[in-house]
Amino acid sequence: MPGQIQDSAATEPVRRRESAFAIGLRQILRKRSSRIALVILATIVLVGALAPLIAPYDPAAQPDIVALKNLPPSLAHPFGTDPYSRDVLSRVIYGARLSLTIGLLATWVSLTLGVFYGAVAGYAGGLVDGVMMRLLDALLAIPRLLLLLGILVAWPQFSVGALILFLGLTGWFGLSRIVRGQVLALKHAEFVTAAHALGASQWRILVRHLLPNLISPIVVAATLGVAHVIVLEAGLSYLGIGVPPPLASWGNIIQDGSDQVATLWWMSLFPGLFMVLTVMTLNVLGEALRDAYDRR
């Protein structure tokens, strides 16, 4: 009777299943630095999400372009006003919204492309892999900022949509290399042969058996990717080819005060501070996640 055949380990308690998400969260909460980072980032995200409720003024309103311009921080305008008399605090709050959205959406585009490209190259192998990787080498040889400058200058019209698209289109090269390497390493694993032996199709093996094993490097890359895109977007906006005015992004606000940085210090300091905080917390969280997944 099979019922009588029992392992000695049968008495072992049944442990709760734990998802990759739960493992990541637990690791983040374990260290003080990443706990603090999570709180700060959550606050910034919340500020961005609730911008219309929190912002004291309309970020685009120019109430008095003569009397209210270039005011230093005060109680009425904690972050001061800009050369167009707009409230910098309100613009920074709305800037959080836009900069984070751009970061997330552009990273989403990169992720989709990078995972697809890398997975196909790694799984196909051989000549397909060789051609795809050489193409990638060529793309990686061009600095991303230069590539973006070229595209955006040539693009007929500035728009946030185009900016997101191009940030995404230029951001997947590194990730696809990681994914390709992982797929290459995993495709000869015995569980892949086993899936094959049990009748799974190639596509099913790739999507259902290989990709879920890559969640950890993908999550880490995404976290760091968002930080990178936020900095890039600020750089492009500063150069005047990023977010089109009068929209507020962190880079945009700094750009508005750029010709008088020494006197209008509040215009660089406050958006800069928010940006640095966001990027730093994302990096701390990215590292924490990397540690969490490396453990296994």
Binding site: D7, R17, A197, L198
Partner: protein
């Protein structure tokens, strides 16, 4: 009645930089309905490649040579279309792998992995497939199958993982299960349980089993007929009782003598001197010649055919025509030349 599986002149070669490795070199055998057949041999003799060839899982640079035939349920698996072959894998023929940890995907619950086979082949919904998976796990003697099904491979013991692999292989009630060293990675106590389980399930479902192992103990316990492989060829085939009582091929003899016996006071275990030669360079004549204690000039000149040496008993050894040579053993060539030391 036609046998369930009929392999004729199977050749699986690997085209490596070191030359053509003739890993499986003209193997023929049958497996009947509900029969348990064992393939035994050392590492590198071609038994696993034979198994993978049946499921057509040979990856380049390896390939099954034209002219090989693997007939199963009236189809030739060698020439079958890829899509049709996929419907056979896991559905009509399935395989139990050797290493229960690495054969399971670490990021899915074991229930999902068992269920997946039913989703692929029976088109069941997620829920129904999972229920079926739990039932199948229960059949394999998995304790608390419902809770265990929700767990991940690393949360289970080796024996339980092997039960999961068996459930995956059996969920579609296939006609043939290939078990490749199913107990090698397990503790001896668990080994016995898993073998009992396989024998039990085989009787219950009427499934044929091809048991691949280097362990004659496993063969004795589970199979009715044995195929001994050496250097890519079948060197002896007989019923289990006949093989253990009257081994004919010197290689089989060596395998049996190298089994440890309780009660026999032995200083050292008997071993077969030397190792299996490289598959890129099989020796001329008899491939076992250099390790054989009886070899003479005939095996050097002529590659032996499979001789009939009894009822349903064949052996690839020239001793069948010169039996008196068995009385004149001598140190094998490898010992004389000292090449066997490595």
């Amino acid at each position: 009645m036609a046998p369930l599986l009929s392999i004729r002149d199977l050749k699986t070669y690997f085209y490596t930089e070191a030359g053509v490795a003739r890993s499986v070199d003209g193997v023929s055998f049958d497996i009947g309905q509900g029969e348990t057949v064992g393939i035994v041999g050392e590492s590198g003799c071609g038994k696993s490649v034979t198994a993978l060839s049946i499921l057509r899982l040979i990856q380049p640079p390896g390939r099954i040579e034209p002219g090989s035939r693997i007939e199963f349920e009236g189809k030739d698996l060698v020439t079958l279309g890829d899509e049709e072959m996929r419907h056979i894998r896991g559905n009509r023929i399935s395989m139990i792998f050797q290493e229960p940890m690495s054969a399971l995907n670490p990021v899915f619950s074991v229930g999902d992995q068992v269920a997946e086979v039913a989703r692929i082949h029976a088109g069941l919904s997620k829920r129904k497939a999972f229920d079926r998976a739990v039932e199948t796990l229960a059949l394999t003697g998995m304790p608390a199958p419902e809770e265990r099904a929700k767990q991940y491979p690393h949360q289970l013991s080796g024996g339980m993982r092997q039960r999961v692999l068996i459930a995956m292989a059996l969920i579609m009630k296939p006609a043939l299960v290939i078990a490749d060293e199913p107990t090698t990675a397990l503790d001896v106590t668990i080994q016995a349980q898993i073998l009992d389980l396989l024998v039990h399930l085989q009787k219950e479902f009427g499934t044929s089993i091809l048991m691949i192992t280097h362990d004659l103990g496993v063969i004795a316990e589970t199979t009715s007929r044995v195929i001994v492989m050496y250097a890519g060829e079948v060197v002896e085939e007989a019923s289990v009782d006949e093989l253990f009582a009257h081994p004919h091929h010197p290689y089989t003899e060596g395998l049996i003598h190298s089994m440890p016996h309780i009660g026999h006071d032995q200083e050292r275990l008997n071993v077969i001197p030397g190792t299996v030669p490289a598959p890129t360079n099989w020796p001329h004549g008899c491939r076992f010649r250099e390790r054989c204690p009886y070899s003479w000039d005939l095996p050097e000149r002529e590659h032996p055919p499979l001789y009939d040496v009894g009822v349903n008993h064949t052996s690839r050894c020239h001793l069948a025509i010169e039996p008196e040579r068995r009385n004149q053993p001598h140190p094998p060539l490898v010992v004389v030349e000292g090449v066997g030391a490595a």
